[in-house]
Symmetry: C2
Subunit: 236 residues, 2 copies
DNA sequence: CCTGCAATTTGCGATAGCGCAAAACCGGCC
DNA sequence: GGCCGGTTTTGCGCTATCGCAAATTGCAGG
């Protein structure tokens, strides 16, 4: 198993307040695995045998209903943890994780968690913070779904993706991983058709440029305005 | 300040793995306060100076948009914590908490949290579990809002309330605190009008009995069936 | 017991967005 | 270079649900 360089991860919020040699000890329990694009890392309902830290790439976490519909819970960016089922007291994964790009992941066995947090209490505190932040985001998302129309929700979703995983271009920001209309629909609670229509509209106004699984925000500021427009703040 | 009896709270998940005398030490830092029905405990955006544990009564946590619309984040039942802004790294409350019934609450100063989790790491671990559970619930709610119609969402919401705060009756289950059509609308992402129409329909089928801020599920099992009905699983 | 307010009910027109279907498109692979 | 499959676009009718308005009801206080 390849050694993981502590310097690559030492600065992550997860390890705040953890001494360098402690970090070494923690990393010694992990292994590093590469997942090619479009491979599953774990499946919803499977036994939660591991938890993960994304080093490179991008991972989509999605939840599936009994009837087969899916929603995207979130996109995981490098440096973030995922699959923390055990930390929250679950024995099975509540969602499916799939690499949307070639990705590299650190993997710990679930069984290591209790020992790790006992030896390094900051881990629990730090994890609590990130889980808490995710809870906030979920509430925000619920608020948006309850009070905004589809166009605003899509605008917000794209702006968040741009902030989290945007690549600055000469002119605009590009979402730095493959993402389809369907994915955006599953993030915002709508259909790929409606997403397509709205992006087409934006494209003809020069707000975005997009294609197959690719989106560039050409006028981020104007999209912010769009995102904040209320149902009645009269359009042209 | 009145002494808090440890026996009242010792069994709570929050204090799992905490020794009795440690619990005593923890409680010594808290004070107990009574909030009459319909009084605010804290306001969204206010400085998070305290965190809370509900002893008696019921508390509604709600988020308000800039434009004044509200959603109900959750109802807090006795034994649950709320207002944990600091545990998740926020300095202001992300929602407003209001007592919907006469309520009694334990209050710790936010400043005590870092010290408490350092001395009693189980607190952090336990809190992580409950916050994680709430995250799951939020995802479930997002899934429902994305994939189900209003009637199913209302059914699920009422069933959850019944499970959390239901009072068993000779025949049926009563939601054990005052809750309006508007509240249910704000939990499910719809309007009070639509909630009213749907409850009226259920009432005429004998599924529920309801009135001013009061709901009794007369046929919980049939409501479960309703909740699981897919858009096309033909009605009668 | 009466009064007033807040909660609830209900009708009705308006519409955002869905669902289905078909066509166009785009890239990667052989 | 051409073919195939997944993605995207777009048209069109439909409907669940909203939004507004008005009537009704039930509780709480005086």
């Amino acid at each position: 198993m390849a050694k993981v360089d502590t310097s690559l991860v030492a600065h992550l919020p997860l390890f705040a307040g953890v001494a360098p040699d402690a970090l070494d000890e923690i990393l010694r329990e992990a292994r590093s695995v590469r997942y090619p694009k479009n491979t599953a890392i774990f499946e919803q309902g499977a036994d939660a045998q591991s938890f993960f830290l994304l080093l490179h790439g991008h991972v989509r976490a999605a939840k599936t209903t009994p009837t087969g519909e899916q929603i995207v819970v979130r996109y995981v960016a490098p440096g973030e943890t995922f699959g923390l089922a055990m930390a929250i007291g679950a024995t099975r994964y509540p969602a499916t994780a799939m690499a949307v790009d070639d990705s590299v992941v650190l993997i710990w066995p679930t069984s290591a968690w209790p020992r790790l947090i006992e030896r390094f209490p900051s881990l629990a505190a730090n994890t609590l913070q990130t889980v808490g932040a995710r809870l906030q985001e979920s509430h925000t998302r619920i608020l948006e779904m309850s009070t905004q129309q589809v166009e605003q929700r899509i605008a917000h979703a794209l702006l968040r993706l741009a902030k989290q995983s945007g690549k600055k271009l000469d002119q605009g920001i590009e979402i730095d991983f493959p993402i389809s209309r369907q994915d955006i629909a599953q993030m915002t609670g709508t259909t790929l058709h409606t997403v397509s229509r709205i992006l087409s509209g934006w494209e003809s106004q020069g707000l975005v440029e997009s294609g197959r699984q690719r989106i560039i925000l050409r006028e981020p500021h104007k999209i912010v305005v769009l995102a904040e427009r209320t149902p009645d703040s009269g359009a042209a």
